[in-house]
């Protein structure tokens, strides 16, 4: 993990996302978008880490990221997702959902579509209108689902002016994050520690399933679905705990892993290597969880070089796990059979790491210390 580049960008970064690659492309990730928060003027920016051909004045690093373009954003950028190659959807603290369009020929961003009253406490018709921050957005072309502090779920379709479906008061607490399970189903997490599955084919305003932890109702902040196995979901909580759930079975998590010392802001399965999981937290650290079971290389701690790693369990297993790759290694609760290797990726503790994204061998993350870190060699 030697080649991680940091750059101070004069704005606190709330979200970073890689631009998705065209399907079937052999390139590595080149462009990422960031959103800022807590400034008087917030920006959505596009950055590039591609080679420029000519080096810049101080000899130019290969990995140093350069600003391509940016655009003013009203309110904090609470969530950000690429809708497709050119369009970015953002969720704002003013309750507005915006679609930005990138024009590659003149490198500018413009507002393509906006739903300004997507989230509110008291409606636009009432005299005491107050907006509510929109906390999460997820896209599955052409649909966009948003959730907010008002406990509302909206289903938008690009180029439709009004919401296709709105579930008012879906939750009595704040919905923090949303993800797609299978296409008509979404999963939300809220601030009383519950996962709720909603099926848009059904008419009612009730979730089709509720899962929660027993014990303290710790708020859940982030959720991500396993890329291949759609019933496996990981969540991160306010106490820094990572939970893995199987939504087909039962209402409780399959495993609970004590992780960070403060709120876990984002959890991501690696899209092409789902045995690898990444989490980032308010405590200023970013962890790489490796549950892959190719054992021989991992049996010795001394080959890790400068990384700081810890092992979660101590036994070594090999032949018994031939069919482990079929069953997700995350669901196995037997500590004797499973080992998860955890590596901290950032060189030193900083202020909160708010966001991260992985694509191929590239990782990008943004912090409250106004720095963006990029590495292009995750699995070296």
């Amino acid at each position: 993990m030697e080649e991680i580049y940091a750059k101070f960008v004069s704005q606190k970064i709330s979200k970073t996302r890689w631009r998705p690659l065209p399907p079937g492309s052999l390139q590595t990730a080149e462009t990422f978008a960031t959103g800022s928060w807590d400034n008087e003027e917030n920006y959505v920016s596009l950055w590039s880490i591609g080679d420029f051909g000519n080096l810049d004045s101080d000899g130019g690093f290969e990995g140093d990221h350069q600003l391509l373009c940016d655009i003013r954003h009203h309110g904090d950028v609470m969530d950000l997702q690429f809708f497709d190659q050119e369009r970015i959807v953002t969720a704002s603290s003013t309750g507005c959902v915006t679609v930005f369009l990138h024009h590659p020929n003149n490198q500018t961003l413009s507002v393509n579509q906006q739903w300004t009253t997507a989230h509110y406490h008291a409606g636009p018709g009432s005299p005491s209108y107050s907006s509510a921050p929109c906390t999460g957005v997820v896209c599955n072309n052409p649909e966009i689902v948003t959730v907010g502090e008002d406990g509302r779920i909206n289903l938008f379709r690009a180029d439709h002016k009004e919401a296709v479906r709105t579930i008012d008061n879906a939750d009595s607490s704040t919905l923090h994050s949303v993800t797609f399970l299978r296409t008509p189903e979404i999963l939300t997490v809220n601030s009383i520690g519950q996962l709720k599955i909603w099926d848009f084919r059904q008419q009612g305003n009730e979730p089709s399933q509720i899962l929660s932890l027993t014990g303290d109702r710790v708020p859940l902040h982030c959720v991500d679905r396993h890329p291949n196995q759609q019933h496996v979901v990981a969540t991160g909580g306010q106490d820094g705990m990572l939970s893995i759930w199987d939504v087909r079975q039962g209402t409780m998590p399959v495993s609970l892993l004590k992780a960070h010392e403060a709120e876990m802001w984002e959890v991501h399965f690696h899209p092409s290597n789902p045995d690898h999981l990444f989490t980032c937290s308010e405590d200023g650290s970013l962890w790489h969880w490796d549950a892959s079971t190719d054992v021989p290389e991992k049996s010795s701690l001394f080959h890790q070089g400068g990384r700081s790693s810890t092992f979660l369990s101590h036994s070594i297993s090999n032949q018994a796990n031939v069919h482990q790759s079929v069953i997700s290694s995350w669901l196995s609760t037997d500590p004797a059979k499973d080992r998860i290797e955890i590596t901290s990726l950032l060189p030193s503790r900083s202020l909160s790491v708010n966001s991260l994204d992985v694509l191929g061998p590239c990782l990008v993350c943004g912090t409250d210390a106004e720095a963006i870190y990029v590495t292009r060699h995750l699995f070296s």
């Binding site: 400034n39 009595s172 704040t174 109702r217 403060a262 909160s352």
Partner: protein, 611 residues
């Protein structure tokens, strides 16, 4: 208070006619509010002030500069690293660590300077270009001063090495500003340099060096006196320069850009093994000679002079006055304090200088909408007033989203500031209740362990139930978990839902005893007893006997309790009469049902089983 060294700057407020009307103002933590009043300077006061705006005046504009923000963020990391340096380290290893920290700070300043220089060149309009250029020169001056302080105070270079460091210092700062090789005088005679000034690690002692130099110096003098080079005036003046003759040096004044360049050159040729304590003689005289009585020293010159005199306090004081932002003095003082160089110099209100400067800097950060997070760590390292300052500042941060509130709460919880946690959670919970987000309100009161607020939220739920006949937010109440224990009312709510569940599952006996225990254990609020008793009605009317005789007696007791305490109403309107009618009917129905149940229960308990 000491006298000000200069006239304060005047800021004109646009739109306000200060000749005609008076202005009023109020201080904030880092800013000032100003507006026009309707009081005129003449006797007649106008009714309406002509300028309708309120102005915010900021002294510290640096905090809002995009490029300087990088300085603040990077130096924050260095500051934290410095605080965490092991206190146990002493001697050489500690010194080398401190020197490394100083160099880190300086490299951050240089990076900032470089970037601002690029922006100044690329600036489209000349006014902003000039502004950026002046920023560049301020940063350059800061680096110059810091570098000198590093050499004199942190590195504490001894005689011999001292001049080497000073040479580097001058070379670095003179060469970067003008691209001419104006250091001709500084780097003359490289061969001589090579033989005398081997890099650190040479085996010559100071005395050996001095002897050699003395020998060389005498040789030069002999050449001069023999008029060996009399034919060539250039060579002769060169010889005079090499002897350190001040007049000869001053003749080349255009090539020496400033007096400290002159100073170092002079030392190189007249006293290369100068000791640190002798520096200030040479510094003062160099300054006087260079200025030659034509111009007066500038603030930068005074600062450098103070440094040469090893008067750290004077350096800091002059820098504080000259610079608009506390960044420089706060970080430099902190570093010097780590070198154990500052005596506890008590200021008017008791804290020491380092802490005072750090507090000022951190307070300035808190006035910024975004940089307050950096300020938190600075307050942490101010032992006397840091915590209390943080407590005051952190409560006043505006919280427009839950995520920001969570970050603030985490900061407070990590420092055991329970009062602040409670107050922030209470504000957020109240907002949530007002927006009808009862689940959020409950989650905030759980975080603050605020039993009183949890009771308030539960009362809201119960009131809604009484009015509507059903619960809103069942997803919350049905899944309270251990949070139920936070407040009695909340426990009651959870148990009451449990009762509903049991009834729905037809576990009547359990439901009955639960209902009874809710009333007898007194966790049910009195206002709710009627509802509970009404809930008991269907259980009483069931075909089989559910409540035992004992339980029925207790129920009757509760009913009597309830009815006896009801105040007798005097005058009442139609609605109240109607309500009373309903109440009386309910009570009568209950009494009837209880009596019937009692009868059946007594009979059943009195009979033998199976008969």
């Amino acid at each position: 208070m000491e006298e000000l060294d200069g006239e304060p700057a005047v800021t004109v407020i646009p739109g306000v006619n200060s000749k005609k009307n008076q202005m009023c103002f109020d201080w904030g933590p880092g800013e000032m509010l100003v507006c026009e009043t309707s009081f005129s300077k003449k006797e007649k006061s106008e009714m309406v002030p002509s300028c309708p705006f309120i102005y915010i005046i900021r002294k510290d504009v640096d905090v809002y500069s995009q490029i300087l923000r990088k300085l603040f963020n990077e130096s924050h990391g260095i500051f934290l690293g410095l605080q965490r340096i092991d206190e146990e380290l002493t001697g050489k290893s500690r010194k080398s660590q401190l020197v490394r920290v100083s160099k880190n700070y300086r490299s951050v300043i240089r990076a900032c300077m470089e970037e601002m220089h690029q922006v100044a060149i690329a600036a489209k309009d000349p006014a902003s270009g000039r502004q950026f250029s002046s920023q560049v020169s301020i940063l350059s001056a800061m680096e110059l001063i810091w570098n000198l302080c590093e050499i004199l105070f942190i590195e504490v270079a001894p005689a011999g090495h001292l001049l080497l460091h000073l040479l580097d210092w001058v070379r670095l700062h003179v060469c970067e500003v003008d691209s001419l090789s104006a250091d001709v005088l500084g780097s003359e005679n490289p061969s001589n340099h090579g033989s005398f000034w081997n890099l650190p690690g040479n085996t010559q002692t100071l005395t050996e060096l001095e002897l050699k130099w003395q020998h060389w110096h005498e040789e030069c003098e002999r050449y001069l006196q023999d008029s060996t080079f009399a034919t060539n005036p250039h060579l002769e003046s060169l010889l005079k320069i090499m002897l350190g003759d001040e007049a000869a040096l001053l003749e080349q004044k255009e090539l020496l850009s400033n007096w400290y360049h002159f100073l170092v050159t002079r030392l190189l040729y007249s006293n290369p093994t100068v000791k640190p304590i002798d520096l200030h003689y040479y510094a003062q005289s160099s300054l006087d000679l260079f200025l030659g009585g034509e111009s007066s020293p500038e603030p930068l010159d005074n600062i450098l002079l103070a440094a040469f005199e090893f008067d750290i306090h004077q350096v800091i004081k002059e820098c504080s006055i000259a610079l608009s932002n506390w960044w420089f003095v706060a970080h430099l003082t902190d570093l010097l304090d780590h070198c154990k160089l500052l005596q506890s110099h008590n200021l008017y209100f008791g804290s020491n200088m380092r802490e005072f400067l750090l507090l000022e800097y951190a307070s300035g950060l808190f006035a910024h909408p975004s940089l307050w997070q950096l300020g938190v760590d600075y307050f942490d390292y101010c032992p006397k007033l840091g915590r209390v300052s943080l407590e005051l500042h952190i409560e006043r941060i505006p919280l427009n989203t839950e995520q920001k509130a969570l970050k603030v709460l985490r900061i407070c919880e990590q420092r055991q500031m329970t009062e602040q946690v409670r107050s922030i959670c209470k504000i957020l919970a109240m907002k949530a209740v007002r927006n009808n987000r009862l689940g959020s309100a409950l989650s905030w009161s759980i975080r603050a362990k605020d039993a009183a607020f949890a009771t308030l939220v539960s009362d809201r739920f119960l009131r809604d139930y009484c009015e509507r006949g059903c619960f809103s937010d069942l997803d919350l109440i049905d899944n309270l978990g251990p949070a139920m224990m936070l407040s009695d009312r909340l426990t009651f709510l959870g148990k009451y839902r449990e009762f509903h569940h049991m009834y729905g599952e037809k576990r009547f006996a359990d439901a009955a005893s639960l209902l009874l225990s809710l009333m007898t254990s007194r966790i049910a609020p009195r206002s709710f007893w009627m509802t509970l008793l009404t809930d008991a009605l269907p259980l009483l009317e069931q075909k089989q006997v559910i409540f035992s005789a004992e339980q029925t007696y207790e129920l009757m007791q509760c009913l009597e309790d309830l009815t006896s305490r009801r105040p007798v109403r005097g005058e009442s309107d139609i609605q109240q009469l109607q309500d009373e009618d309903i109440e009386t009917t309910k009570v009568e129905m209950l009494r009837l049902a209880l009596a019937r149940n009692l009868a059946r229960a007594i009979i059943r308990e009195g009979s033998l089983e199976g008969s």
